[in-house]
Symmetry: C2
DNA sequence: CTAAAAAAATGATGTATGTCATCTTTCCAT
DNA sequence: ATGGAAAGATGACATACATCATTTTTTTAG
């Protein structure tokens, strides 16, 4: 319901939204009117660039837990997240997911494998109902080639993520599960705001890198310490400062 | 001594090498004659591009354990590794190093922060005697802007590393120390060949993400199982297949 | 609205790995 | 060559966390 509300903001008319969501139509959501765009790499596109972008993209509705792409397959285009949250993850040897990133509105997903020439090293699937646009490989690469601003934005994004992952690796190697959970909650707080964090315990455990049971116990600790409130599936951050202290420096 | 030999290959004359190494001169090693170049992003440069590259770079000799750059500072240029090995690492809250990557001849180091506009998220320092060229920020960015092949090479490299780090994170989160050590040894085997792995136990532990004592015990196990030989500081991989089996899939 | 399935919660138990303390070997500068 | 420092090795011990088994709660589908 709150995600429904959010979604409606991103479309021109309620009727279009309903088509989009309830009837899974592939109705075009124009980039010019996409509210997620301003925070995206296309944020500073001018009118004719937007028209061109509109031409080359398709728009799709995804139900909860639908895959966008799967580890090992080859990319045919990139995904531009108009509404909803998407998890990006790999599977370890025993099939257990390790969530690398949770993407929100405005993010472009899956462009890494486009440049590396390798198959996807990660999978991506929706965590909730999503509206996602799709740009074919050729169109996207042409845009990159001809538009220096977009290209620099992409390079900046790749570089930023690379830095973040170095920190992620260090946290995994050196922090306790308790510290990592605090760290993860802070990240998710940022991703989900102004809404509350809304993930299954299993997904959260797979993001933190721990067993579901351990995660549940630690959440309970945090609740008893007054740093979070648990509203069934939704987690509310009550004391972010304390979380930061628990998570340690950085 | 064997690293001395290797170094000499990369310079035009022995006398130049000696200057370079023993007297720490900044004598120019020409890119045209750099044997590390063929495997690098500059591998397919033509003559006049090489001249240009030569103009804009400086060449320096580094002793063992010297820093190239430090986490938190801002980049002023990139480093191009002509000879020797370099570790790239972050420090956790208690100052413990987590090694993210070990770079070898031909690699360009430190270009991530150049694009992200952020300070370095990692530090880099030499693991042995090194010959390292340096290209200033402005020159490098100009090259990127004007040379599409180099640019695409950089984007490919960024993308590949991003994928590798997703795997690294998953390994950290889900594999046992024993499995991670096997995995690390295979990576290092590749980096160091045709030489033997040559790292302190502490550095190796900081790469695997474990305590030095634990690492030492596991090395002993591997030795007793006949997968490695330990020649004091140097590690010889005897049975790579078995290591792969221990490391698990991927 | 209800039944079945999925998710969440809780307890009991084992173990891989970190920590601390001590000793030995190797390295390196003088 | 030699002595001090760094690196390597080994043992004893503690514990954070995973695993397994079971129960309760929530969600979903018919």
């Amino acid at each position: 319901m709150s995600s429904f509300h959010k979604m409606s903001i991103n479309c021109n008319f309620i009727s279009e939204t309903l088509d989009c969501m309830l009837e899974k139509s592939h109705k075009h959501v124009s980039c010019a009117s996409c509210s997620a765009r301003k925070d995206s790499l296309f944020g500073n596109y001018c009118d004719h660039e937007l028209d061109e972008l509109d031409e080359s993209k398709s728009c799709n509705y995804y139900k909860k837990n639908q895959p966008l792409f799967i580890e090992g397959s080859f990319p045919r285009g990139v995904f531009c997240l108009n509404g909803g949250k998407v998890k990006v993850f790999t599977r370890g040897d025993e099939g257990k997911e390790q969530i690398i990133h949770i993407a929100k509105e405005g993010e472009i997903i899956g462009f890494r494998a486009m440049f590396s020439g390798e198959p996807y090293k990660v999978s991506a699937s929706t965590l909730e109902e999503c509206n996602i646009c799709y740009i074919g490989k050729e169109d996207f690469l042409n845009m990159i080639e001809s538009n220096a601003v977009l290209r620099n934005g992409i390079m900046k994004e790749l570089s930023k993520e690379l830095g973040e992952r170095a920190v992620f690796i260090t946290n995994m190697a050196q922090k306790s599960v308790r510290e990592r959970l605090a760290f993860a909650l802070l990240i998710l707080h940022d991703v989900y705001k102004p809404e509350q964090i809304n993930l299954t315990r299993e997904d959260l455990a797979n993001f933190v890198g721990t067993a579901t049971e351990t995660l549940i116990r630690l959440l309970k600790d945090f609740k008893e310490e007054g740093v979070i409130e648990i509203h069934t599936r939704k987690l509310e951050i009550v004391d972010a400062n304390k979380l930061e202290r628990i998570a340690g420096a950085r």
